[in-house]
């Protein structure tokens, strides 16, 4: 081989290596998901119903016992533990077998009847899982028209499924046939909200739509100046929602804007929460806003940059405390009155999914309320802290 040829080959190889090195230096958007949690009841020992938390993570769905943070053991109809081939207890875990690369779940699983859990996938699939056996009715699932980011809403006769590309559909609960379809320009990325027969649909096309839930016809729509990525909060017959334009709105159910706050630093993505007439919401710049809801509009009680990165999850109010989780992998306990930080707890992954408060009850025999936080880290997908003092109780990882 001539020297020239060798030089050419070396040069080409060097060029490819350089491209590879440069590509490795460039940040690319992370490919991980943030499935929302939901609480279910599952027959435990002696067939006594127990509360369990459905954790969608990457391509798996696991039922977690909130008492100890372990995967629920599968039981038969008599309440006995089902053993696997080696005689070990079978655990309640469902794998989609890597059929949803890169992301699988952004929404919460919903129960559609006593035996069936509907798991909406970002991979344009609706998976049905038998709750008792933790088996998929079909590995492929039911194909749907779009990616699912917002959680479906289940009513007596319908399942409302929002698609992230364009539309929202009402499916017949029994046979999944399409009852109606409503198009938006940029899709629906949050769960719709049902208020009597009014279906409130937040859309990324900047509009908040109110539809006739039965027929899917438009009743009213409002342009909120930016994408609407969260489900509105319904409080005392009024809607509260923010938009990517950094605005927060108070809206009547007949489609009038009653008040607007236009002072957020960045996008408002998550759903606000309200307590004692004060609305709390975070933005994607790490700020938290406390706004008093007054007759003539919003009044800023306090606002401060709590986290260094986005706060998407809905803040949780517990007594005089406001609990906020952020992308900076920190959970903050704030004084509700002033926003002053009381203490913080670190987790391994970013927090983007809504947090879940689990109270002691007949089915969940925990000594005190927990706050469950799902993170985007595989090794710490779900973490439980006590609500009042932030003591870490357990963590579940894959």
């Amino acid at each position: 081989m001539s020297k020239a040829k060798r030089a050419i080959q070396a040069g080409t190889l060097g060029l490819l290596l350089l491209i590879g090195a440069l590509a490795a230096c460039v940040p690319l958007p992370a490919d991980s998901n943030w499935g929302h949690l939901s609480v279910l009841e599952y027959p435990g020992a002696n067939n006594v119903m127990m509360g369990a938390v459905a954790l969608p993570f990457h391509d798996q769905l696991t039922l977690i016992d909130p008492i100890n943070g372990l995967a629920v053991q599968l039981r038969d109809t008599q309440g006995n533990i089902r053993p696997d081939e080696q005689g070990n207890p079978r655990l309640w875990k469902v794998s989609t077998g890597g059929r949803c690369i890169p992301d699988c779940f952004y929404s919460a699983p919903v129960r559609i009847n006593d035996d069936t859990l509907l798991v909406p996938g970002y991979n344009k699939r609706l998976l049905e899982v038998d709750l008792l056996t933790a088996r998929l009715s079909s590995v492929e699932g039911r194909a749907v028209d779009g990616h699912i980011v917002g959680s479906p809403l289940v009513t007596e006769d319908s399942i409302y499924v929002p698609f992230s590309e364009r539309d929202i559909v009402a499916l017949n609960r029994t046979d999944y046939s399409v009852r109606w379809r409503f198009d938006t320009d940029r899709g629906v990325w949050a769960a719709p909200l049902l208020v009597d027969d009014l279906l409130i649909v937040p859309s990324m096309d900047h509009n908040l739509y109110a539809l006739d839930a039965q027929r899917g016809t438009l009743i009213w729509s409002l342009n909120l100046g930016g994408a609407v990525g969260g489900t509105p909060l319904l409080h005392e017959g009024e809607l509260y929602i923010g938009s990517f334009a950094g605005r927060i709105f108070r809206i009547s159910l007949d489609g009038r804007i009653l008040a607007m706050f236009d002072g957020a630093q960045e996008w408002i993505w998550g759903t606000p929460t309200i307590a004692d007439g004060i609305l709390y919401v975070g933005d994607t710049n790490g700020y938290v806003y406390a706004l008093a809801v007054e007759a003539n509009g919003f009044r800023r009680v306090w606002s401060r940059q709590v986290g260094t990165r986005a706060i998407r999850a809905t803040p949780v109010v517990y007594g005089d405390t406001l609990i906020v989780g952020g992308r900076d992998r920190l959970v903050y306990w704030l004084k509700r009155e002033t926003g002053e930080e009381l203490f913080r707890r670190e987790v391994r992954g970013e927090i983007l999914a809504d947090m879940l408060v689990v109270e002691p009850s007949e089915t969940i025999t925990i000594p005190e309320p927990f706050i469950l936080i799902s993170t985007m880290a595989r090794e710490e997908a779900l973490v439980a802290f006590t609500l009042d003092d932030g003591e870490r109780r357990w963590a579940y990882g894959f």
């Binding site: 040829k5 080409t12 491209i19 460039v26 943030w34 590309e165 994408a227 990517f244 710049n285």
Partner: protein, 303 residues
């Protein structure tokens, strides 16, 4: 990298707010990038031309210092200095292209943000206030998601399959055309073989289309659009500068840039006539005069 990435994301989003079409925004963006890197392209062209012109001299040096690499290297550098040529000057613009397209690939993914995770990564990257009102940008084009690779394995329609196949093919064809049309015409050396630079160009004109075709299959459709438009813009740029070599497409060879004729001593038909001075022509006088050449008295030969 955010120093490059965030302005790119902002510019793409700004163009989207103007044209309300992502493909058109990528096209305009590519043209703007081409205009911005024009000085580098011009430098690359100038450098390539000078190198081309120096090839015969280089060949001579290589022959002269065959056994002495150090001396050869010194003489080569002296030759470069003498003619004001930077030997790596031609490569620099090429290397600058790569960070640009890698940043663009990233910018397309961030700006179009097809998943919620991508969208939340877009926060804080828009440098012009008010642009967030355009978010999210429409990432669908002819049934394809611009942030995803072409969908050949599982197309949802015939149109999607056709467009998915067309993108890598167009990328490869335009890359090949761009290489061929913008490469200087090959100058044959004395032994008739291509010189090292030409061999490199020939090799690259085969490897690069394949490599870019692979990129087009593996990366986002938006990036393929950038490749295609960038190649076409490159060709147009060269045509406007009058430097396009369409002859390369058909394998035509240019005349050597510097003609180094061997020493020729014409044999006079009439022994009383003086021989013509050497180097004045490559044609032997016999051909001109219609006489057969004969060896000279000093042993010189016509070639």
């Amino acid at each position: 990298m955010d120093l490059i990435l965030n302005p790119f994301v902002t510019l793409l989003t700004l163009l989207y707010t103007i044209f309300n079409d992502m493909v058109l925004s990528i096209v305009v963006f590519t043209v703007l990038v081409k205009l911005a890197t024009y000085p580098l392209t011009a430098q690359q062209l100038k450098s390539a031309q000078k190198m081309q012109q120096l090839q015969p001299e280089m060949k001579k040096l290589q022959e002269k210092y065959k056994g002495d690499r150090e001396k050869l290297s010194q003489e080569q550098m002296a030759l470069y200095r003498q003619h004001g040529v930077n030997p790596v000057g031609g490569c620099l613009p090429l290397f600058i292209q790569f960070p640009i397209f890698i940043a663009l690939y990233s910018a397309i993914n961030f700006a179009l943000a097809s998943t919620p995770t991508h969208l939340i990564d877009l926060t804080g990257r828009l440098l012009i206030p008010g642009l967030e009102r355009a978010i999210p940008l429409n990432n669908l084009w002819l049934g394809l998601d611009l942030t995803m690779p072409p969908n050949i394995s599982n197309p949802s329609s015939a149109l999607v399959l056709i467009v998915s196949l067309a993108m890598p093919i167009l990328t490869m064809v335009t890359t090949w055309l761009s290489f061929k049309i913008t490469a200087p015409p090959p100058v044959p050396s004395e032994d008739g073989k291509p010189n090292q630079a030409q061999a490199m160009t020939q090799s690259m004109s085969t490897i690069m289309p394949l490599m870019y075709g692979f990129f087009a299959l593996s990366f986002s459709v938006g990036l393929s659009i950038y490749f295609i438009v960038s190649n076409i813009a490159q060709i147009v740029q060269y045509v406007l500068m009058g430097r396009a070599n369409f002859g390369n497409l058909f394998g035509r060879r240019a005349q050597p840039a510097i003609v180094t004729a061997p020493a020729v001593k014409a044999i006079p038909a009439n022994p009383g006539n003086r021989p013509k001075p050497s180097g004045s022509s490559t044609k032997p006088s016999a051909q001109r005069g219609g006489h057969s050449p004969k060896p000279s008295a000093k042993g010189g030969k016509t070639k």
